[in-house]
């Protein structure tokens, strides 16, 4: 069985994570779409920390016999990997969009200056 102290620390830490994320959303410093994975991480860790029997059972399934909290760390690590992978996809998309924007600005600037030159010559 998980030592009680670890369960308490787990509950407090995951609750804190959820609260921080909610506060960031409230202050508009974090978009909901990027907060959902963090909230899911917090929720899963909260449940596994508070519901000690469940953690024990899952540890049994996974063959973790000696130390059930190891499952807690494994789950936390897994979720962090998911969040990071998600961010890599977001970053890639932003990179593409950023290049596209730069290209459009370059093309538009050239068109604008050409149009301005043309209108200046017709005026003269």
């Amino acid at each position: 069985m998980t030592p009680l102290r670890i369960s308490i620390v787990g509950v407090v830490a995951s609750a804190l994570l959820i609260l921080i994320v909610l506060e960031l959303i409230r202050g508009r410093r974090l978009k909901e779409r990027y907060a959902l994975l963090w909230l899911a991480t917090g929720a899963v860790l909260l449940v596994l920390s508070a519901w000690r029997e469940a953690l024990n059972t899952i540890a049994g399934w996974l063959g973790v016999t000696g130390y059930p909290p190891a499952v807690l760390f494994a789950v936390a690590t897994l979720f962090i990997l998911l969040v990071l992978l998600h961010y890599s996809t977001v970053l890639s998309k932003l990179t593409d969009e950023n290049v596209e924007l730069a290209q459009r600005i370059a093309l538009l600037e050239e068109r604008v200056s050409r149009a301005l030159r043309a209108s200046n010559t017709t005026k003269l």
Binding site: V99, A102, Q103, I105, A106, L107, E110
Partner: protein, 246 residues
Amino acid sequence: MTASKSLGRLVAVIPAFDESEVIGKVVDEIRAFDASVDIVVIDDASTDDTAEIAESHGAIVLRLPHNVGIGGAVQTGFKFALAENYDTAVRLDGDGQHDASELEKLLAPLERGEADLVIGSRFVDPGGTYRPPLARRIGIRVFARLVSLLGGQRVTDTTSGFLALDRIGIELFAAEYPHDYPEVEATLVALRSGLRLAQVQVRMRERETGSSSITFVRSLYYVAKVTLALLVASLRRYPRLETARR
């Protein structure tokens, strides 16, 4: 010489980053080859006065607000060619290594309607004089083999940035062009999209200033990135483009 009618309106696309020392000469040489060619220099956020010099030599200059890398810069030129309805585009490097007097050879297969993409290769003719350092020679050859294998046509020089495109090619590359180290992957994308590829032997000059963008330190990234891109590109589905227009 002047471009024949079948080539239609011709644009030269030149990506340039900090090439103020040679860009004027590059523009002049293309103009000397054919005065009717529109010359577009894409300034990839140079820190020097590349853009001003190109402009003073009569080039149309597209100024990127920040550095997007060679592929993104070249693609800007293809997008320009598409938007302004050019029929043919050639692409040369801004560092002067591509000899404008070779353009005639490069354009010949397009003129005859035999190809949609013509690559200026340093290795078509086995007696060519270009001898890069061993590591680079191996790299060039391995990528040529890989692209030939995955693309179903023998390609001799996939790392060359000296190329000519017809309208179909312009459309393809305006829509799809890798942002960094683009040449190898772009060749495969062209083959898989059904473009007709021709290769002609060209001379290339030694770089006049600066150094190749591929330093020894970056070469590992280059090889890994390009290999991954090729393998993934061969798993992707590309719409076959309608190239038989005549």
